[in-house]
């Protein structure tokens, strides 16, 4: 059993490196398509300004992309270095989408990204557009496989425990691939990335418009971003993320926690708009509730209920008891007692084996757990409410703000009157960081909301770590913080430098800073 210190450090390091990597992913996902749109217009109209747009935003894309690549390898390594038992226990299933990501997506993206930057003079216009398209396709497919892997952690379908090898094994690849949670997450994450990139382009274009320079370039970029951004924001809202919450055990918990739904209400449940969740007393203080809304959103019906936290805990207590029976049978199987009765008992209860493993924190033997220990384990199945409750509300609030910004941007674009809307330009510029905040909060909702599980109902997080000394993790964590801080400063310096310089950085001689006199 790893010590609590090792577990906490491993989790902290994973959170730091994953949140950091996720600073660069959304922009790559969305900006790649914006480049495809701009270059398509170039290929169709032949106007060089659209080539300049593709190249300039491509430069910023490159600055961001390099960081995404550098920080992505960390995450792949880390499953092995810090989460060795996790890798051992579920690698049979979890490893496959990661390998497929490499074979199917990352190779495509990485091989063609060089040609995007260096192929302008060596390819025909259409060929180059094809290359840009493949980069976008590769990066988006990459997200697909990663989210299939992640969705399996949230809702582990198509797999079962094999007592011969003492690990989880794949029984159905189609179930893994078509995991309903994966589809929802994929669409949601992509759309979030598209919004991030759109606001990035919109905000920087607004800056040029506010400075009154390179206006032709800026207005066209603004228009592309406004259209793409509006479509993306709408798809986040229309397609929604909620449908995923009715599937899978951890998702039920997450839904209850997001909504601070302590008691199961008679359907359709009321929605808590604001309030202060109180974990100790299991209630929400100063709650502001809107009747019926939660039931309607979460279940899309008026008669299905949203299960409350207290009821979930009671259910989990039962599953812990069932898991203990599975654990006992497993001990017998491993000691060689493979008679029919034991096999049947194990088969009947093995779906709850993970719940018994929660007890390892309190008693290594599991089977001798007292009622008090079982109750503590059942309480552990619910993560702290307020981080999830608030992360979700801020994320949604930001989403509504983005809808407002893109609607206005689109409206004034259509009226060809963007230039004079100083308030909108300023709002867009200063809102650039907000999609990143929303994306990071989304990660917290999804991954903190999954606790205490590494694999929902299968493997508790605290069992997933490597058997390594805390000192090693202090070393690596210090290294990550040092290098990541340094790299972030460098990245932001270059991003600001080139964003300020604008299309003049292309050296075509047609833009603001290159005009006569500006060079001297």
């Amino acid at each position: 059993m790893p010590s609590a210190e090792v577990v906490d450090l491993s989790r902290l390091q994973f959170a730091v490196t994953a949140l950091y990597h996720f600073l660069f992913v959304p922009l790559t996902l969305g900006l790649s398509w914006i480049l495809v749109i701009m270059e398509s217009v170039y290929v169709m109209t032949g106007k060089p300004i659209y080539r300049d747009m593709t190249q300039f935003w491509g430069k910023l894309f490159g600055i961001n992309f390099a960081m995404g690549v550098a920080t992505g390898i960390t995450l792949e390594f880390q499953f092995g270095t810090n989460w060795a038992y996790f890798s051992h226990y579920v690698g049979d299933i979890f490893g496959a989408p990661l390998a497929l990501e490499g074979l199917m997506a990352f190779f495509l993206e990485s091989t063609f990204v060089g040609l995007f930057f260096f192929g302008w003079q060596r390819l025909t216009k259409v060929q180059h557009l094809g290359v840009t398209f493949l980069v976008a396709l590769g990066s988006n497919l990459s997200a697909l496989w990663i989210l299939i892997a992640n969705a399996w952690m949230q809702n582990p379908v198509g797999a079962e425990f094999n007592y011969e090898t003492m690990r989880m094994e794949l029984v159905s690849f189609p179930q893994l691939f078509f995991n309903p949670v994966a589809g929802v997450k994929f669409v949601h994450t992509l759309a979030a990335g598209y919004v991030t990139a759109s606001l990035f382009v919109l905000g920087i274009s607004s800056y040029y418009l506010l400075k009154n320079r390179d206006t032709g370039f800026a207005l066209r970029s603004f228009a592309v971003a406004a259209g793409f951004g509006l479509a993306s924001t709408l798809s986040v809202i229309v397609l929604g993320d909620e449908s995923g919450y009715t599937t899978g055990e951890v998702q039920k918990v997450k839904l209850a926690v997001i909504e601070a739904e302590w008691e199961t209400q008679p359907p359709p449940a009321a929605f808590t708009l604001f309030g202060i969740p109180n974990d100790e007393k299991e209630r929400t203080d100063y709650a502001l509730r809107i009747p019926y809304v939660l039931g309607l959103i979460a279940t899309r019906s008026v008669d299905e209920k949203v299960v409350g936290i207290k009821e979930l805990k009671a259910e989990h207590l039962k599953r812990i008891d069932s898991g203990i029976i599975a654990y006992e049978a497993l001990q017998k199987l491993r000691s060689g007692d493979k008679n029919q009765e034991v096999l049947e008992t194990f088969a009947k209860h093995k779906a709850d084996l993970g719940y018994a493993l929660l007890l390892k924190k309190y008693t290594p033997n599991v089977v001798d757990a007292t009622l008090e220990q079982k109750v503590r384990a059942a309480n552990d199945t619910i993560p702290k409410v307020w981080p999830v409750f608030w992360s979700f509300r801020i994320m949604v609030g930001l989403g509504i703000l983005f809808l407002f910004i893109f609607s206005c941007a689109f409206y004034f674009c259509a009226r060809r009157d963007v230039h004079h809307q100083t308030w909108l330009l300023k709002l867009a510029l200063y809102s650039i960081p907000l999609p990143w905040i929303a994306a990071e909060l989304g990660w917290i909702v999804a991954e903190y909301g999954r606790q205490p599980w590494a694999i929902s109902g299968v493997l508790p997080t605290f069992l997933g770590t490597s058997n390594i000394e805390a000192g090693k993790i202090y070393f690596s964590l210090a290294g990550f913080i040092f290098f990541y801080t340094f790299l972030l400063i460098v990245e932001l310096y270059l991003m600001f430098k080139y964003a300020r310089l604008g299309p003049s950085s292309l050296g075509t001689g047609n833009y603001h800073h290159e005009a006569a006199g500006a060079r001297a």
Partner: protein, 380 residues
């Protein structure tokens, strides 16, 4: 599932080998170029020539590394867990060094300050050199056996230290790896550049190939005379699913040569490693750079195969608990996963090879100082 389990296990030993060779051949020359960068490029423009000779393609090449890692996770999850957690500090150092590559290539020439550029050049040097040495050291330690064991729940614990990895034999393996990738990078650079840089690269080919041949032979003699190998005394049928603890393993002097005596054809691997390095050296001297590169790649493949074939079926022997050793028979995924990943590899690897070749063809030709001057704003 047309293959039985044991065939799939064998195929996956070959596939992981293939991916590792793919990584060493494709990303290896980028790393070698990184190692050579500060020494072969005397001026900023020369360094830009060197960087741009690999700048457009290194990213795709590095994907061999990432995909090999992913494939090991999917096909050999036990190795992935045991090796990555055992080599913890070494891998973190590799990772920190690798950070400098993507940002080094992209950021270096975006600012004019010579101190900035010089700093990134050393970053690119570290990004090529540190992993090259550590991968060699890791292979050296795998040949020696690693101090780790499994408990009853199959949790793996490594009981050695980071410093114990830096033993004389492993360091020699580190030199083999570094000289091999430096040679490979130098041949590539000789092919893609002209004038002074090309001449310096040629000299580097000579030096590194000679070091490679000498250290490779030394390591071979060491293995034959001074290192205990491992052999399986008993185990369940390789066609079955079982945990590492189900077999009995013994240390035994000279066991790493068993495969070479049992299957004499396997001797082609060390012959290829040395022979192809000599041919690459001669072709480089004769300025036949394209063919030299092919032979350099063959030499790289030979070196990796030599180590792999010596150890087969072992992939990570345990020195403190030999029964915990990981082999191609018990470090593996289920038959279903191996089968699915087999088909994915068979479909996608040729596709990757095809589009990678196309990209290299589009970007072919020599990079010169003139090229850099003409593309001041787009070059790295």
């Amino acid at each position: 599932m047309i293959f039985d389990y044991v065939t799939l296990k064998l195929i996956w030993w070959l596939f992981v080998g293939l991916l590792l060779i793919g990584f060493a051949v494709m990303d290896g020359f980028d790393m070698g170029v990184g190692t050579l960068l500060p020494f072969l490029g005397k001026t900023d423009e020369e360094r830009r020539v060197i960087i741009n000779s690999v700048g457009a393609t290194w990213e795709g090449n590095q994907t061999w590394f990432i995909t090999a890692g992913g494939a090991i996770f999917a096909a050999w999850p036990l190795l992935y867990a045991a090796a990555f957690s055992s080599f913890y500090i070494a891998l973190m150092l590799t990772l920190f060094a690798l950070f400098f590559r993507p940002v080094g290539f992209d950021y270096r020439s975006k600012v004019h300050d010579p101190r900035w550029r010089n700093a990134w050049d050393w970053g690119l040097f570290a990004g090529g050199t540190v992993p090259a040495i550590i991968f060699g050291v890791a292979f050296g330690n795998l040949l020696l056996g690693m101090p780790f064991q499994y408990d009853a729940d199959l949790r793996v614990t490594y009981t050695g230290s980071f410093w114990a990895l830096l033993n004389p034999f492993a360091l020699l393996a580190g030199v083999v790896s570094l000289s091999m990738l430096t040679m490979h990078g130098a041949v590539y650079l000789q092919h893609r550049t002209d004038g002074e840089i090309c001449a310096r690269a040629k000299a580097a080919v000579k030096a590194s190939a000679i070091v490679l041949i000498i250290t490779f032979v030394l390591a071979g003699i060491w293995i034959a005379t001074g290192i205990e190998g491992y052999k399986i005394i008993s185990m369940p049928s390789p066609n079955a699913a079982f945990t590492p603890l189900a077999k009995v393993v013994e240390k035994s002097a000279g066991a790493w040569l068993n495969n070479y005596t049992l299957y004499p054809w396997t001797i082609f691997a060390p012959i290829l490693a040395i022979g192809a390095a000599i041919v690459a050296l001669l072709l480089s001297a004769a300025n036949r750079t394209a063919t030299a590169f092919i032979f350099s790649a063959l030499s790289v493949a030979g070196v990796i195969l030599t180590a792999g074939l010596a150890m087969f079926p072992f992939i990570m022997p345990s020195s403190t608990s030999p029964n915990s050793s990981l082999t191609a028979w018990d470090a593996v995924s289920s038959r279903r996963t191996l089968s699915i990943m087999f088909w994915a590899t068979v479909v996608f690897l040729p596709l990757i090879a095809a589009y990678t070749s196309w990209v290299f063809r589009v970007l072919r030709g020599k990079i010169t100082v003139q090229t850099i001057r003409e593309n001041e704003h787009t070059s790295y």
